[in-house]
């Protein structure tokens, strides 16, 4: 079998990876395999993504306004720079997501924020730690006294 890359030498490196039930195979000669080290990275999930990017034509001059990641960078690493990249490179990224995940429709849960209420003492302890962290020891001491008073009150009662 001839090498997929140079089409001259015999292929001696065979890479097979499974993506959503479909095998993707690559056959390279040892030289092309050495030159295309990154393609050997195909075994890692991000490698799968970046190798897919290399087969897709897309606009390369696009840049995410939020984090500065360029489409080329994105193609090379297979990783987004920030949550905004998914909007900035939508045209490029969605086909990839489709191939990696098999779908573009999230059906899992959405964030469901829970705000825990702290007891008065817990809240004061928290504020005291914050004060210590900010090296505001006067404030920390004041809060400590409040906590003591509350605890004392509780014990007396």
């Amino acid at each position: 079998m001839l090498c997929d890359k140079c089409k001259k030498r015999q292929a001696s490196v065979h890479i097979k990876t499974l993506i959503n039930g479909v095998y993707v195979e690559k056959h390279l000669c040892s030289e092309c395999a050495r030159d295309y080290d990154s393609e050997l990275d195909i075994l890692s999930p991000s490698g799968i993504v970046s190798s897919m990017f290399s087969t897709i034509e897309g606009p390369t001059a696009k840049r995410c306004k939020n984090c500065g990641t360029t489409a080329t960078e994105f193609k090379r690493s297979g990783k987004a720079g920030c949550s905004e990249c998914y909007k900035a490179f939508e045209d490029t990224i969605l086909p990839i997501v489709k191939r990696v995940q098999g779908t573009l429709n999230h059906v899992g849960r959405a964030p469901s924020p829970v705000v825990k209420e702290r007891s008065e003492i817990d809240q004061l302890r928290y504020e005291m730690e914050e004060a210590v962290r900010k090296e505001d020891y006067r404030l920390a001491a004041e809060i400590r006294d409040k906590i003591k008073a509350l605890e004392g009150g509780r014990q007396d009662g």
Binding site: G81, V97, T103, L104, N105, G108, R109, V114
Partner: protein
């Protein structure tokens, strides 16, 4: 006693979460943003459970390695001394990696076959986190993550299984193949790219988008069920084919662990795996936690137990001593 005691080692659920608008860790150079992320994470822990908070930069190489060996952080986080941190619950059943590939990786673990329990604990933390920061989320793609392979639920549900019989018989290869056809993956003990040392594998979902969290848990659970049944069947075959030779192999391994004065990590793992099989067959009795013993005897954890630095040769001696003591204490015995 669980149905698959002696096969299932642990269940784990990981949720990947990021703060909207703040660049992902690899792209982040703003100190203030880092501390915002860390502080929000720690504030949530304060609301949830007793914990320890560690910044990688403040830990020694041995400490970082020890936490990694205990499966509480990834290798990537262990070497991220720039901005990596971790929150570990005092019971070590939940850890939150901060600034790994994503801002937060919440992972809950239990020692049985219960992904639902792990999910609900990870989820509790996730909800508190969502109450403190605006999480990156889109209706279409779900939770937005650094790598597109984690989009959607941001969830990986994995079960660690001990499959010696399927490994000996070679049937594990066709099983791994079939599992991959179902969009699940099989990895080694220490995750991506690691070897299946000690006949131990992690089975987890590959796809995180387009399925609900429950569907992912159900799928992984169903597949693990089938694999465990196959292992049980194969253990019976192994016993009937190998008979006394297998018993001999197991008891020799037990003999090594209870008598050796020099023990490498590899030899411990090999012998302990056979002893685990012997425990399942009722040949060896050990009331302690043998999987815990294997972890305690990994290089960095061993150094922590010794309380002083040991070179590789010294570790092998100390490892043998530790194993002898623990097996003796755990009522280990030839039944």
């Amino acid at each position: 006693m669980d149905k698959y005691d002696g096969i299932v080692i642990s269940s784990r659920v990981r949720l990947a979460r990021n703060v909207e608008g703040i660049p992902f860790p690899k792209k982040l150079n703003d100190e203030r943003a880092f501390s915002t992320i860390m502080k929000a994470g720690e504030d949530c822990a304060k609301d949830c459970f007793p914990y320890k908070f560690y910044q990688m930069a403040h830990l020694s190489t041995i400490d970082r390695q020890a936490i990694f060996e205990r499966h509480l952080i990834s290798r990537e986080l262990a070497v991220n001394t720039k901005n990596g941190a971790v929150i570990i619950s005092d019971s070590e059943d939940l850890s939150v990696m901060i600034n790994e590939e994503d801002h937060y990786r919440i992972q809950a673990i239990n020692k049985g076959f219960d992904l639902q329990d792990a999910y609900s604990r990870a989820s509790d933390f996730d909800n508190v986190l969502a109450g403190r920061v605006k999480l990156a989320y889109s209706d279409k793609l779900g939770y937005l993550t650094s790598c597109p392979t984690n989009l959607g639920t941001g969830m990986r549900a994995s079960v660690m299984v001990f499959l010696p019989a399927l490994t000996f018989s070679g049937k594990i290869n066709s099983i791994i193949n079939s599992i991959q056809q179902l969009s699940l993956t099989v990895r080694g003990v220490y995750g991506e790219g690691s070897k299946a040392e000690g006949y131990t594998y992690q089975i987890s979902n590959q796809v995180s988008l387009g399925q609900t969290e429950k569907e992912i848990i159900d799928n992984v659970t169903k597949v693990v069920d089938v694999v465990c049944e196959a292992e049980i069947e194969e253990r019976k075959n192994l016993q009937s084919i190998e008979g006394v030779r297998l018993t001999d192999k197991i008891m020799r391994a037990y003999g090594t662990l209870t008598n050796a004065y020099v023990l490498s990590t590899a030899e411990l793992l090999e012998c302990a795996s056979l002893v685990k099989l012997g425990m399942a067959f009722g040949l060896v009795r050990f009331d302690g936690d043998i999987n815990g013993l294997i972890i305690s005897c990994q290089p960095a954890n061993l150094i922590k137990i010794a309380g002083k630095n040991l070179n590789a040769d010294e570790r092998d001696v100390f490892r043998a001593e530790t194993v002898r003591k623990v097996l003796k204490k755990g009522n280990g015995g030839n039944v």
